[in-house]
C-alpha cells in the first residue's frame, strides 16, 4: 500500500493501529471504520478527506478520546488514548464556542489553573493571534461565523495543546471567509507547530493545507490512499504540481470524469 507511516524525519505523535469501529443501533450493526492504520508525525498537518458520512469524523472523535474503537488502538506519544485530554483539543464543526461567555471568557475557559495575571496575558496573546482585538467583551451571538470559529481556535490554542483535531471547522463559512481562515490557520500552525488533524470533504481545502492528505473511502471507511503534498507554503493554487495532485485525488475518489 502507501506511506502509512509518518515522514521519517519526524517523531511519531499519533498512531492509529488496526482501528475498526462498529455501531450497534436498534439491533442493526453498522461498520463505520474498517481496519484503519495511520501514523502522524510531530508537528505534521494531516487532512482526512472523504465523502460526507464516511466515518472520518468518527475517526477524529476516537483520536480525541470521545469514542473508543471496537478493535485496535490509538496511541498518542506511545500512550493509549482512553479519554479526552486537554493536550489534544477538538474544534467542532458546529459552533462550539460557549454562548454564555464572552470571547475573553471562552478563550480563558481552559486556563483556570493559572494565576489571574498569567491567564490575562495568555488571553490577550491569543486574542491578538486570531485577530479579535476589540471584541474581548463581546458575546458570540454578536459575532460573525468566522469570528466565532476564530474564538474557538483561540480557546483551543490557549491551553497549549500538542494537537488540534479540527472537524470541518470552516464548513459553515462563506467561501471568501473560508479562504481567509485557511490562510490564518496555516499562519498559526507555522507559528506554533502543533500537530493538526483536519477533517474535510473539500479536496481543494485538503490540498491547500496539508502535508499529507489521507483519502478515505465511503462507509465503512478505509484508507484508500495517502497523498504527499510536496509543495512549500504559501501554495500557488494554479501551479501545475498543485493541479496534478488535486486532479489525482479527484480521480482517486472517482469524480474526475463525472463533473
Amino acid at each position: 500500500m502507501q506511506a502509512i507511516s509518518a515522514p521519517a524525519a519526524l517523531k511519531t505523535k499519533l498512531a492509529v493501529d488496526h482501528v475498526s469501529m462498529v455501531f450497534d443501533r436498534d439491533g442493526k450493526r453498522t461498520e463505520v471504520l474498517s481496519n484503519i492504520d495511520l501514523e502522524v508525525g510531530d508537528g505534521e498537518f494531516v487532512c482526512l478527506l472523504g465523502p460526507s458520512g464516511c466515518g472520518k469524523t468518527t475517526l477524529l472523535n476516537a483520536m480525541a478520546g470521545f469514542l473508543s474503537p471496537t478493535t485496535g488502538e490509538i496511541r498518542v506519544d506511545g500512550e493509549m488514548v482512553r479519554k479526552p485530554d486537554p493536550r489534544r483539543i477538538f474544534v467542532f464543526q458546529e459552533r462550539g464556542v460557549f454562548p454564555w461567555l464572552t470571547v475573553e471568557g471562552n478563550i480563558g475557559f481552559g486556563l483556570t489553573k493559572l494565576t489571574r495575571a498569567e491567564r490575562d496575558r495568555r488571553i490577550a496573546h491569543y486574542v491578538k493571534m486570531v485577530g479579535l482585538q476589540g471584541f474581548e467583551k463581546t458575546y458570540p451571538q454578536e459575532l460573525s461565523g468566522g469570528m466565532k470559529q476564530r474564538a474557538e481556535v483561540a480557546r483551543a490554542l490557549a491551553v497549549n495543546p500538542d494537537m488540534l483535531l479540527l472537524d470541518e471547522p470552516f464548513g459553515a463559512l462563506d467561501s471568501i471567509t473560508r479562504l481567509i481562515m485557511r490562510g490564518e490557520l496555516l499562519r498559526i500552525w507555522e507559528a506554533e507547530r502543533k500537530t493538526i488533524i483536519f477533517v474535510t470533504h473539500d479536496i481543494d481545502e485538503a490540498v491547500q493545507l496539508a502535508d499529507r492528505v489521507v483519502v478515505m473511502s465511503a462507509r465503512p471507511a478505509t484508507i484508500q490512499r495517502i497523498v504527499n503534498i510536496d509543495i512549500p507554503h504559501p501554495r500557488d493554487i494554479s501551479s501545475p504540481r498543485y493541479l496534478e495532485l488535486r486532479d489525482g485525488i479527484f480521480q482517486q475518489i472517482g469524480l474526475a470524469h463525472k463533473l
Binding site: 479519554k83 479526552p84 486537554p86 483539543i89 477538538f90 467542532f92 462550539g96 461567555l101 475557559f109 458575546y139
Partner: protein
Amino acid sequence: MNALSQPARWERFFWPILATALLLALWYYSVRWTGTKVFPSPLEVERGLAELVRHHVLWWDILDSLRRVAIGFGAAVLIGVPLGLTLGWYPAANQVVNPVMQILRPISPIAWIPVAIIFFGVGDDAAIFLIFLGAFFPIVVACINGVANVSSVYRRAGRNFGLTPPQLLARVLFPAALPQILVGLRIALGIAWLVVVAAEMIAVDSGLGFLVIDSRNSGKRYDLVVAAILMIGVIGLILDVAFRRLEKLRSVRWGFRLES
C-alpha cells in the same frame, strides 16, 4: 410605513390604552343598564380601592401575600434547582423518580389544602407549603429538561478541557441550561401567585386572597372584592415583568429569541 415595520411609538401606547378604556366603558354601562345592585361599577371599585388604601389594610395584605410567595417560591428554587440539575445529570436517577413526579405534577396544589392543614394546621405554614408544591414541579422539570437538552458539543468541549463532573455541571451544563431554567422559574412564579390567593382564602386570615373572601363574607362588599382582584392582577403582572428582565441579562440572552 409598511406592515413589517414596527408600530410607531404613540401606537404602542395608544391602542392598549384605547382597548382598556373601551373595556372599562363596557363594564360601566353594563352595570348601569342592567341596574344591578350587587356588582360594582368601575367608579365604585375605584372608591373601594381608595378606602382600602386609606385604612392601611391593602399594603399589609399585599406584603403578607408577597412574603408567602417569597418563602414558598424561594424554598422551591433552593430545593428544586439542585434536584432538577442532578436528575438531568443522572438519567438513571431520573428514570427512578420520573413516574412519581409525573403523578404528582398534574395535581392542582388546591387539592392539597386539606393535607396541608393536617400537616401544618391553619396558618402561614400551610399556605407556604401549598405555594412550594405549586412552584416545585415546574422548576424541577425545567431543570431536568434544560440539562438534558444541552448540546453534546458543549458537553464534549467541557470534557475536552479536562473538567471534572462537578466542574462540568457548574461551568457548562448549568449555564447552558440557564435560559430554559429561567423560563421554568417564571412559570413557577406565576403559579405561586395563583396558589397564594387560593391558599389565603382558606388557610389564613391575611393577604389578598383573604381580602377577597373577607370582603364578600363581611357585608358583601363587592366593590372591595373587585378592587382586591384587580390588585392581584396588577401585582402578578409586575412580578412577571420584573422576572422577564432577568432574561435580558447578557449571559442568558442567547437562549431567547430576540424580540424586535
